[in-house]
């Protein structure tokens, strides 16, 4: 029987588990909590966590270097690329990757590399913006529910379960449908989609922290609840929240790119990574670089962020085990 900790008692298998959580955050939820939000214990927990990590120092260095490069693209694109990513040059249309155009050109002769560099800013704005917004809201809801318990926890978590019944992209799509297509609305929509994920994970963490001895000690020593939350509960939630947030930036970037691909992205964003991939679809048979390079840039961002998230967690965990 022992070692079957991954198994979940039947009554915990709700009709709507962590569902909807985007798959890239799943290892996090599962790694920490076991399937369906229960803490996995002992070897099971170790195993799941190890299964989802990439643990090499070189990996971390490459990941951080890549992310620094992306941030550089976002802040000072002019240094890395030409001044005008939208400049057309019909003579150079559909040129393959070369010394002049690392990633080739599109059908108007625009450099894919330049477009990618200039597309980094909106991509990171959506990724970081929606994660900060949704992550803060979701974490607060989760910590409040987990620490306070009682009817508040019950009601809020039922609501969160309902949100989780809508897979992430669909939840964002409802808001995209209802709002004008602007960058800030897209950030808002993706932030909403992240709220239930953060709430779930952070609630689990808060419940676990609450049952720790030092919280009991703080309670019996007469500290006020507010002090306990600020001094003990929240600091112990920082590590998982940071890890989840780091990984979620990648998820948000992918959702944003997918929305643009579907033609539902913000209209003012030019150039846009998702739109680039979409544009290249029609040329995939001969001029594969138009879609493939932007896709690779997005994928590398996702991988780098999950490598970084994993390491951040290890570094931030106040009490191990």
């Amino acid at each position: 029987m022992d070692g079957m900790d991954v198994r979940v008692p039947a009554d915990q298998v709700a009709a709507t588990p962590e569902a909807g959580a985007d798959m890239r955050v799943l290892p996090l939820i599962l790694g920490r909590w076991g399937p369906l939000g229960r803490p996995a214990r002992g070897p099971a927990r170790r195993q799941i966590r190890q299964a989802s990590r990439v643990r090499t120092r070189t990996g971390l260095i490459i990941a951080v270097a890549y992310l620094v490069l992306l941030v550089g693209w976002a802040i000072i694109p002019g240094v890395f690329a030409g001044t005008d990513p939208t400049a057309v040059n019909p003579l150079a249309a559909l040129a393959g990757p070369s010394v002049h155009n690392f990633f080739g050109t599109d059908q108007y002769g625009r450099s894919i590399y330049d477009e990618l560099v200039y597309g980094a800013r909106p991509a990171l704005e959506v990724g970081v913006g929606s994660t900060l917004l949704g992550g803060a809201a979701g974490s607060l809801i989760g910590i409040a529910g987990g620490y306070l318990g009682g009817w508040f926890d019950l009601v809020v978590m039922r609501l969160i379960d309902m949100l989780l019944a809508l897979p992430g992209l669909l939840l964002a799509l409802i808001f995209i449908a209802a709002l004008p297509r602007t960058l800030s609305n897209e950030i808002f929509a993706i932030a909403i989609a992240s709220v239930p994920v953060f709430a779930r994970v952070l609630r689990g963490q808060a419940v676990q922290v609450r049952s720790r001895r030092f919280v009991d000690a703080a309670t019996v020593s007469g500290l006020r609840r507010r002090t306990i939350v600020v001094r003990h509960v929240i600091p112990n939630c920082v590590a998982p929240a940071t890890e989840l947030a780091t990984v979620y930036v990648g998820v948000a970037i992918v959702i944003a790119a997918s929305l643009s691909f579907l033609g539902l992205g913000p209209s003012e964003v030019v150039p846009d990574w998702g739109t680039l991939i979409q544009n290249g679809q029609g040329y995939i048979d001969h001029d594969w670089w138009i879609s493939v390079f932007p896709g690779v840039i997005v994928t590398l961002a996702v991988i780098s962020l999950s490598v970084l998230g994993d390491r951040l967690r290890g570094a931030l965990e106040p009490v191990r085990g």
Binding site: M4, V13, M23, P167, G168, L170, I277, V296, I303
Partner: protein
Amino acid sequence: MLGVVGRRIAAGIPVIIGVTAIIFFVLRVLPGNPVDIITAGAPTTPAERQNIINEFGLNKPVLAQFGSFLWDALHGNFGDSFSSRLPVISQISQQAMPTVELAAAAMVLTVVLGIGLGAVSALTYGSWVDAAIRTVTLLGSSMPIILTGPLLILLFSFTVHLFPATGSGSFPQLVLPALALALFACGVVVRLVRGSMLEVKNQEFVTALRAKGVGEARIWLRHILRNALVPAVTLLGVQLGALLSGAVVAETVFGRQGLGSLLVTGIDNKDYPMVQAIVLIIATAYIVLNIIVDVCYSLLDPRVRVQMAG
């Protein structure tokens, strides 16, 4: 057994109603006058506007609108499309099949790839096969469908002419989109199956089986794999959500017909009845499939069955 199913369904109903409410109110509370959407901004007389308001029941209080929407939805009527003014359900039922096919094919592939590769990975633990499987699946689950799709098309449609790049209806057209979804979804399953098998492998009952003289093949298949499948099945339920929302994107990538493309068009046209019907149908399918997964789970693990009954 019946009691288990009944309780799962009972737990699912409030969630479905809640989801319906979320979709319904989000689309109504946020700015935008439905009448302007229906008339597509064309100049209208006040009388025409009043007609539209009456036709779509927009004059009633929002709560009453929600009540009648819920009631009608129970009867399979999701209202009339803002753009075509025809019942949305007729369009949806025409387009549902390609999506169901895609989701089912992707699920089957995810199960086969996830469990198969996971088992192979565990059996070859530490070898290059294990490393290769882990690298490929990690890559697969990190790549968005909007990259996997074009890559698969490039490889299997234009480099090796195996499968058509786009379209829906025939089996060859189903292969690439299903594969794209499965590559995305199976990574986590592979890792979980591998991890669980390695864990079960070292348990005492396995040693006991060996001591008893049970063959290695039987131990791995009947005992280790079966025990490892329990957590994997739960995970598959979760992955369904990813498959369903991935299908929305995959349909556009592979130029397929289906609910996903219909949803995207609906959002583009601000066709709220269409959007809410499709999102609601997908969410309901997801909840129902999860109930089915729960039941499978109890079939797979007798201990859960005992707990459920008790």
